[in-house]
Symmetry: C2
Subunit: 594 residues, 2 copies
């Protein structure tokens, strides 16, 4: 019932207009990525997503992955789609050309990523995990490891995983029990059980490269005794191809709420041969290389689902005839008006739209800074950009995945009873989106990361990278009357964020629980202000064009910005009050009374 | 993994302390229902729900209903459970003793209803629909219809349905196409297709009594030409038992997001024999008799799910060891602290708790007024209570079902990855709860009902029944220092509601779209104020007991009230601002740009 069309026009707007000042094209290595090439990449990716991945989304959900005799089978059509995906070079879009990659900017790759998540979140998990493994090996592996594994990960013939969680520990990785015992030849024997391993087994690739957190003999207790190991499903033979079977077996897959075509595996490591990646006992550091990128990627999953839900809901609302406009029939020739005329339906659609397009702008902003942080020749500029990305990563992860769920739920609501029926596809978005709030660190953990690590880091240095441009923007446009409907609410919300930041930091110094108890509210306030800033800028860019060419697009931008300021940004006031009320009522409650 | 225990202690608190002034026991016909009897009923119902219905909840979800050769089979165990349920007299709990009912107060029956929804929402649909049919026939049927059908519905040997929706119309019933042609014998021939018919076919009862909205030959167009017909699956024979098959067939069931053990049927009526219920062309009025009760019942479904989700999340949080408290280990003898020590987990649990217990109090309040409206000997008192119930029904339906979904989602979040796994049961609550926001009038329709019908009714007469007691309560306790932490925020939020009410009414007179565009925000603001009032009262009742017997219970009440005021009620400010911003940005958006 639902369809999907890549939002190329909005992506173009964001990448070329909103990010105009970032001048990504001039970063070393990115000169090839002219606007024309970027447009061609987006078009090509959009076509692949709409015609190959999206048609497998519903069937993949109904069929799910199957576990049979120790192997996992992905749903019908997945293998063929994956081959097409890999042959198109999409598995190595951002990868190092030395290993066969395309070296595309993150800004572009993340736009493609959004489309993949919109069209088939489950499918996207497989190459997504591979990219995580690629980054960790690229950053921390030996030259030999890079030579042996990266080309295969880049061309998609092998895939990757991140093996962290065990039955008794998820968030608290210090409790990991998987053991690594040294062999004579420099390799290790890995033994233990890992759960919730996405892409842990499947039939899409010739081999799977597991990155496993484990504890060496005599390692220090807790988080400081964790090392990272590379454990291939098949050990490479002399020709560099998948050779003998290694001691890792999938003993089952989970039956989940959603992302049913993504295999979530229990993996048993039984004296499997593994190779140390990076330094002994520094596995957490190496894993974090993957996790930061992964957290951004998960935020983009929320955006992707939101876009699909919006597209489905808006086309339903245009077509479904039901009831009449309150002020009399708007389409008197039809048996009823399309439900689009009803104020509450419009309210839902505009909420979905304002969050989705705001999220897209935020992803683009952070992705551009990520490119600057990695490529800019000026060290200070690069380091500033890195601060910005560090600060915003938990906001992108938590806020965009919360909104992904909210927007998908609104999509169901717009469809009414039809939204609840599996065949129609909308409820799948709700089920698929739900995991994004949990994996790669629950959203509560993201809020704690923001408030406990990112805010205090280097005496608040990260924060400046966000506060300064917003504050400068508000000052610069303080007297612009045309922009007043956007600048004034932004300014008010930003003031709340500034005050909340001071209060939370102060209270947190005395009692960390006081900060932690309001962390989720604070993260949301932060994210709303980021959205407000971006919506104000998008309105500013669009206002001069509302009577010209393509005026419908620009008019919609301005109107959506106004809706965001009017109807959604007021939440900043409630969050501010809740933060100010503090953590006492959260912490004082008697443990035994829960 | 999850469990369920009926919250009898909290129900007792609400029914005996919070409702102490309602004196239900003295209403005509209710004198038998002493506190002791009520307690015995709750205990008995709680046992049945925990030991018979709850154990079938997960298996029912996995197995679902099956459609085979024109018949629907409910999941394993449902028939046996249903028989036990019916034999216990639970199908006729509130029914007229003339037809075999128990004539229990709604206040008590709705407490039982909560338990049923907590333990097995799908199961509860079958007797729930029967009660709807019972009420419609009881209110509008002929004496013969009552005699022939009510005893069977009351003893549960037959069940009922409401047949409204057709493929092209849900909310807008004026579009109904099902036809009713008069036969010579006073009966009608009913022909048409109905979809989304809950309990439309199943194997739990000997017969199914469909109440069908259809259009008589030459009926006026639209909503004024709809009549209600009673169409039994099997026509009663001379002995009054299920006789020959009638022309209604189930042609399929829907595959849904949740409530999978509840059969959602497509019903084809092919010259089926039907009997007019009530007046010709007054079917909507008759249907509304069922719908108001059904809307309260759906609100209670939201509460029921919320309670189960809270119970599951709080026990998981007590048992799951992960990480350490921020200020150092709280349980140093264990490998880690239970996640209950983490501020964000506490914040989630307290949010769940404050909403759930607030919802329970609201349901009790409205149920008590319902009893007064139906039984009180003083006509003015009864009529005032009826106004109150009319006003609050959309609030209960929409707010409690929204919260049901929110609380279930928080439950998943507390469980983390384990919440996403079907076996663990929590994600089912999210899927089951989701339909409650849609059926019996979407929550958007409820908001429109509140703002468009209930507020302006009789020049605002309904509103007084809520505003007066709240305003009086605030005045009476203005100088009570111990209560200030509750009365002050209540008073502030109530002020916002009063101002919003005036502004919305005024703007709505000029342009109904202006009111409709903020209707959902207004309904939520209304509900939050109702919760705040009830939490203030519960705090007031509990404060004198926080050092006495059962002090843990009362202390928790006071602390939860404080948490509600600190962290949740501030939303009233955001809603107020959003309402004040008005509907322009919602209505001005170009239809073609969506």
């Amino acid at each position: 019932m639902l369809g999907y069309k890549a939002p190329v026009e909005d992506l173009r707007f964001v990448l070329t207009k909103l990010l105009a000042d970032q001048d990504l094209n001039s970063l070393p290595g990115y000169s090839e990525f002219s606007p024309d090439l970027v447009e061609a990449i987006l078009d090509e990716a959009g076509k692949l997503c709409a015609t190959v991945l999206f048609p497998l989304n519903r069937s993949g959900d109904e069929e799910g992955c199957r576990y049979e005799n120790g192997v996992v089978r992905t749903p019908k059509g997945f293998k063929q789609a994956y081959d097409e995906f890999a042959q198109g070079g999409w598995t190595g879009l951002t990868a190092d050309p030395e290993f066969g990659g395309q070296d595309a900017p993150n800004t572009v790759a993340n736009a493609v990523q959004e489309m993949i998540c919109s069209s088939n979140l489950s499918f996207g998990m497989y190459p997504g995990l591979t990219m995580g493994a690629y980054h960790a090996i690229h950053a921390h592996g030996t030259e030999e490891q890079k030579r042996n594994f990266l080309p295969k990960l880049v061309d998609g013939s092998w895939s990757g995983t991140m093996c962290l969680t065990e039955p008794h520990c998820g968030t608290d990785l210090g409790l990991i029990r998987t053991r690594a015992v040294k062999n004579g030849d420099g390799s290790y024997n890995i033994t233990g059980t890992k759960i919730f391993i996405s892409a842990g087994d499947h039939d899409l690739t010739d081999n799977i490269v597991h990155l496993v957190l484990a504890r060496m003999t005599d390692a220090p207790e807790g988080i400081k005794g964790i090392s990272m190991f590379l454990v291939p499903k098949f050990l490479p033979n002399d020709a560099g191809e998948a050779g003998p079977r290694n001691g890792v077996m999938c003993s089952g897959i989970e039956h989940k709420m959603g992302i049913k075509a993504s295999a979530t595996c229990v993996l048993n490591f039984d004296e499997a041969t593994g190779y140390l990646v990076g330094q002994p006992n520094k596995g957490m550091r190496a894993m974090f290389t993957m996790m930061n990128a992964a957290r951004l990627a998960v935020g983009i999953q929320g955006l992707g689902i939101a876009e699909s839900a919006y597209q489905g809901a808006s086309s339903f609302a245009r077509e479904r005839l039901q009831g009449r406009a309150l002020k009399g029939p708007k389409y008197p020739d039809q048996a009823a008006d399309p439900i689009l005329v009803h104020p509450d339906v419009r309210h839902m659609l505009l909420t979905m739209r304002a969050y989705t397009e705001g999220a897209r702008a935020l992803v683009a902003w952070v992705s551009a800074k990520l490119d600057v942080s990695k490529r800019h020749p000026d060290q200070q500029t690069a380091s500033d950009a890195d601060d910005f990305v560090s600060l915003l990563t938990p906001v992108v992860k938590a806020m965009l995945t919360d909104l992904g769920t909210d927007v998908a739920n609104l999509g169901v609501q717009v469809l009414g009873g039809h939204g609840y029926i599996r065949e129609n596809g909308m409820e799948q978005y709700v089920r698929d989106a739900r995991i994004c709030q949990i994996y790669e660190g629950t959203n509560g953990v993201q809020a704690l990361d923001l408030i406990g690590r990112k805010l205090p880091a280097h005496m608040g240095r990260y924060l400046k990278q966000f506060f300064h441009p917003v504050s400068r923007y508000i000052e610069e446009h303080a007297d612009d009357e045309a922009l007043a409907p956007f600048i004034q609410p932004l300014s008010k919300a930003f003031g709340r964020l500034q005050r909340a930041t001071g209060v939370v930091a102060q209270r947190g110094l005395k009692d960390p629980n006081q900060a932690a108890a309001v962390a989720s509210d604070y993260l949301r306030l932060f994210g709303l202000v980021a959205f407000a800033y971006l919506w104000a800028r998008m309105a500013e860019i669009s206002l001069p064009h509302i009577e010209g060419e393509n005026k419908r697009f620009y008019r919609a931008k301005v109107d959506t910005a106004q809706f965001f300021m009017d109807r959604l940004l007021p939440q900043s006031g409630a969050l501010f009050s809740s933060i100010m009320a503090g953590g006492d009522s959260t912490m004082d409650f008697d443990d035994e009374a829960f």
